[in-house]
């Protein structure tokens, strides 16, 4: 039983790290521009493709990672410059819809490129040495990539914290998130700050993309959609626009998802004799294993609940005009 719990906790932390890495990018951009960038998930997808290309061509992981991060950051910056800068200040809905359009372009562009390269839509992701396999401590076995995800998440988010609290550019970014026009009046170069936010967000999304692809084992041009929705939920739970909130929300969401999957069918898993038959029957009736396939629906119900009860999230500040 204890192994089961430990494994689930590690799974939760790994999933939480991935969501946190994605949610931070969304939250930084949202904090400054009030733009929900749905194409953020497609940056993750691009990163997975660049990594698959690099690893497939026989590059070492140490060389693939810079290539992948560089490529993704480039796409992220391009997206900001071409699609989002011309409509800065447009109504919320207009910018949100543009990000859907950007996502469509990235997805179908990738689809087109893979077709032209003679590849199928769904390609196997070549697991790099050092990320595949399982780690075993006594009776507890955990996929290595889950541990790497957790550690990478903590390290990168720690570096981000240092950046936003200790560097000039980081301070400008926080000032711009506080009040964009006031920051501009104080001589902060807004374009540079926005570009930095996109670059950092893209780099974090690239990391998440690699880890996600290793976990999934296969990639297609649409893998970014569900993660960006989850990252959005994470950011909302934590408090949209707040980096700390996004991290917190990411781990809460990871825990919630793993919890739903873990308790589904718990009545069948419990060792014989540990609970009375009545309790087991009760668990089997109310927590059937089919519950796990409703996980995404449960997560979204949770989001709607948060939006209604506390629309500003756990750490966010209440915003004018977000709710009646």
């Amino acid at each position: 039983m204890i192994e089961y719990v430990v494994q689930q906790v590690v799974n939760a932390l790994a999933a939480g790290s991935l969501y946190a890495l994605m949610a931070v990018g969304l939250a930084m951009v949202f904090g400054i521009l009030r733009l929900i960038n749905f194409a953020h998930g497609d940056l993750m997808m691009i990163a997975a493709y660049v990594a698959a290309f690099g690893l497939g061509a026989g590059l070492a992981l140490e060389l693939t990672i810079p290539l992948m991060v560089g490529g993704t950051v480039l796409v992220g910056l391009l997206m900001e410059r071409v699609a989002y800068r011309p409509i800065r200040g447009a109504p919320d809905v207009a910018t949100l819809l543009s990000s859907f359009a950007v996502g469509q372009i990235l997805q179908n562009g990738t689809l087109l490129t893979t077709r032209l390269a003679g590849q199928p839509t769904l390609i196997a992701f070549p697991a790099p040495a050092g990320l595949g396999g399982v780690a075993a401590v006594g009776p507890i076995t955990v996929p290595l990539v889950n541990i790497v995800s957790f550690v990478a998440g903590i390290v990168l988010l720690g570096m981000l914290t240092v950046f936003v609290t200790r560097t000039n550019l980081g301070l400008s970014m926080r000032a711009a998130a506080e009040d964009l026009s006031a920051a501009q009046l104080m001589g902060i170069k807004v374009n540079r700050v926005v570009a930095t936010a996109f670059a950092i967000g893209s780099a974090l999304a690239a990391t998440a993309g690699l880890l996600f692809a290793v976990q999934a084992g296969q990639i297609n041009p649409y893998i970014g959609f569900t993660p960006v929705l989850k990252a959005f939920i994470a950011a909302v739970i934590g408090g949209f626009g707040s980096i700390a909130g996004a991290v917190l929300g990411g781990y809460i969401l990871g825990a919630l998802e793993v919890f739903v999957t873990a308790v589904a069918g718990i009545g069948d898993i419990l060792p014989p004799g540990s609970v009375s038959p009545e309790v087991r029957a009760f668990l089997q009736q109310w927590l059937p294993s089919a519950l796990a396939s409703y996980r995404d629906a449960i997560v979204f119900l949770f989001l709607i609940l948060v939006l209604l009860v506390r629309p500003q999230g756990i750490l966010g500040q209440r915003d004018r005009g977000d709710s009646l």
Partner: protein, 346 residues
């Protein structure tokens, strides 16, 4: 005066009916299919315009309502033998239902099934709207997107009703040019009347400035909810028409690509304009069909989505109101005397 005002729209309806009759008689199955497809898109776009364009509360859940309508009506009209074979786990009160009665050549059962589907979807939309219409801006967009995901998850998992991820097939093909055209006419008329009603003006007022509207006593929740529920009803109708046109489908159809296609039509035509939605739907269906042929010829699959998305970005950047903005094509002034129209315009 009233007769003259009605003359323009009546002529448009008459000309469309004539065109449908010619197309019907021509037996060109491809073009008939394309026009039926277009009419379903017009219903979806006009109803989304009511839900989102008029109120400014952007809903991404429209296709979820369409999916529910499609499945509900298809279950109701599925012949009993197929029902027993494909959906053996259906509860007994549904398993014996087969709405196939017809009066003369008119399939009344299909009409009833469509109305039940629309009604059911509205009943679901009411509490959902009650809860979600309190939100604004992008939060409502994402919450309604959540609704779409929830519907999809349920459709995939409710095997007993939907066959899960397997294709739901053998639906009778009831939808023809006349059914689709008639429903499109109903939707356009109803939405146009709502736009000119007190509710419609409240919708537009609270969209422009919610606080100012509330300050002078204009309701916010009621018009939003009305728009949401009526929009959902017509999305359910569109789903029923789609199900009985395509005859076999699976939950994957009713997801984000379709949602984005309808949004493109709405934005290109102009949010807040009923005739704009029709123009947008015609333009995008025509362009989509042309691009599909280019794709088939060059094998560059994905190209059409890229072009449409790029066009969408250009419209949002350069002409945010779309082709028509909030204006309508002035069909009702077509037959007014010239001097009168000259007097009215400043």
């Amino acid at each position: 005066m009233a007769a003259r005002r009605a003359a323009g729209p009546a002529m448009a309806v008459g000309l469309s009916a004539l065109a449908f009759a010619l197309l019907d008689a021509s037996g060109q199955a491809f073009w008939q299919g394309l026009v039926i497809n277009l009419l379903i898109f017009i219903i979806l776009t006009v109803s989304l315009n009511l839900t989102s364009g008029f109120t400014g509360v952007f809903s991404l859940g429209q296709i979820g309502f369409m999916a529910l309508g499609a499945y509900a009506s298809a279950i109701l009209t599925l012949p009993l033998r197929e029902k027993a074979a494909f959906l053996p786990d259906l509860p007994s009160w549904l398993a014996g239902v087969h709405l196939d009665w017809s009066v003369g050549p008119l399939p009344v059962g299909f009409l009833v099934a469509t109305l039940i589907a629309g009604g059911l979807v509205s009943v679901i939309a009411w509490p959902v709207g009650r809860v979600l219409m309190r939100l604004s801006g992008h939060f409502v967009a994402v919450a309604t997107l959540g609704f779409l995901v929830i519907v999809r998850v349920i459709l995939f998992n409710a095997d007993g009703f939907t066959r899960g991820s397997r294709t739901f097939s053998n639906v009778t093909q009831y939808t023809n040019l006349w059914w689709a055209g008639l429903w499109a006419l109903v939707v356009v008329y109803v939405v146009w009347r709502i736009k000119r009603s007190t509710y419609g003006r409240e919708m537009l007022a609270q969209r422009e400035d919610r606080v100012a509207a509330q300050a002078i006593g204009i309701r916010v929740m009621e018009p939003r909810l009305l728009a949401f529920v009526v929009g959902a009803f017509f999305a359910g109708v569109a789903g029923s028409l789609y199900a009985h046109f395509i005859t076999s489908f699976s939950p994957t159809v009713f997801y984000f690509d379709l949602t984005f296609r309808v949004i493109t039509m709405l934005v290109v035509g102009g949010m807040g304009s009923v005739s704009g939605s029709i123009v947008g739907a015609v333009a995008i269906v025509a362009l989509g069909e042309a691009l599909r042929r280019v794709e088939d010829a060059t094998l560059l699959y994905g190209l059409s989505s890229i072009v449409l998305a790029a066009m969408f970005l250009v419209v949002i950047t350069v002409r945010r109101g779309g082709l028509l903005g909030e204006r309508e094509i002035p069909l009702d002034r077509l037959f007014l005397r010239r001097d009168r129209t000259a007097d009215q315009s400043p």
